[in-house]
């Protein structure tokens, strides 16, 4: 008799044109039928008779199928599926854009601030890599609280994303060899001098600009900056004119 139920439920589901709903309908009707069988068996019906009665109570398979088909309209079902698919795709696109832009934090950072890209000056030290261009120029040198604060301006223009190019893992050295610095993406620092790294809002996914602020107890003559990757070794130098 269990097989007869399968025949019945198959006949119901055949009428439902929106096939993705058929499995759920079959499961619900099967549980209902089994509930009814068990209830009758508890009333001391023979299992075979209980199954017969339960199946009869389910009604005419075609009529049930037609009634369900009127509710599970194919166009409505496919429209719903299409909406789900579109929503999923939108979420994936937003995620991809977020990751490409350098993370959620940076995405918020970028949208909150006025984005202004300043082109590097023509006299900035420059290196062309396979993936793009990197520029370094000396900024202001100020004396603050007995220290010397030397600014460096750093630009990265990446034409093609290259996985091994890590412009944030900077290595900085000055003419006295007193500064040794590495900066990782997660903010860990290893320095014998003191270096502040302020990231300036950047525009797009391929252009980055930042200010490196070096705080020393002397005025540096020059500072060299390098980073791993990019197809070849490179070092950029920023030189300050000597104090008059």
């Amino acid at each position: 008799m269990r097989d007869e139920f399968q025949i019945w439920v198959d006949a119901v589901c055949e009428q439902v044109r929106f096939w993705p709903d058929r499995k759920g309908i079959e499961k619900e009707l099967r549980i209902h039928y089994e509930d009814h069988c068990r209830a009758l068996e508890r009333l001391n019906y023979e299992p075979k008779l209980a199954a017969e009665r339960s199946l009869r109570a389910m009604g005419n398979a075609q009529e049930v199928g037609w009634a369900l088909d009127r509710i599970h309209k194919p166009w409505l079902g496919w429209l719903w599926k299409f909406s789900e698919g579109t929503l999923l795709m939108l979420v994936l696109i937003v995620l991809w854009l977020t990751v490409s832009a350098g993370g959620v934090e940076q995405l918020i950072f970028r949208t909150r601030q006025q984005l202004e890209w300043t082109d590097p000056p023509a006299w900035a030290d420059h290196v062309s890599l396979e993936c793009g261009d990197v520029y370094l120029a000396p900024g202001e040198v100020r004396e603050t609280g007995g220290n010397v604060e030397a600014e460096l301006r750093f630009w990265v223009k990446v034409r093609e994303p290259v996985p091994d190019f890590q412009p944030w893992e900077l290595e900085v050295a000055d003419n006295r060899g007193a500064v040794s610095f590495r900066e990782w993406g997660d903010g860990r620092r290893q320095t014998s001098g003191y270096l502040e790294w302020e990231r300036v809002p950047y525009w797009g996914w391929t252009r980055h600009q930042m200010t490196l602020r070096l705080i020393l107890d002397y005025r540096p003559d020059w500072v060299e900056v390098s980073a791993p990757g990019g197809g070849r070794d490179w070092v950029l130098r920023a030189e300050w004119e000597e104090e008059p």
Binding site: H36, M58, V64
Partner: protein
């Protein structure tokens, strides 16, 4: 007492929503409960119940969740806020309808 099925067909949604107003239920439970509360006057057929339930779900008058009980995962139907509003409207319409039927029936017996 046997009643004409056509009398029941227009009120099936009202009966189902009334059942669900008290607690969430699964399909078979609704049939048993309806028969019990009506002294077996209303014996809903399975083939009638599920299209109505799925229609109520499509209209967002009920929501469905799967719940495990006695080792079986069943679909439980729960009335929504929109469903409760629809129930109140259907109750009012039914009350008015029953009053008007009574009025006509009683006036005929008085004449």
């Amino acid at each position: 007492m046997k009643i004409d099925k056509s009398l029941m067909s227009g009120s099936t949604t009202l009966l189902i929503l009334s059942l669900l107003a008290g607690e969430e239920m699964y399909g078979y439970q609704m049939i048993v409960e309806l028969a019990r509360r009506s002294n077996r006057t209303f014996e809903l057929r399975e083939g009638t119940l599920y299209p109505i339930l799925h229609g109520l779900e499509a209209d967002r008058l009920v929501t469905v969740r799967e719940k495990e009980a006695d080792g079986r995962t069943r679909k439980y139907y729960r009335i929504t806020r929109k469903g409760r509003r629809a129930l109140e409207e259907k109750k009012a319409a039914w009350k008015y309808f029953a009053e008007q039927v009574d009025a006509v029936v009683n006036s005929a017996s008085l004449a």
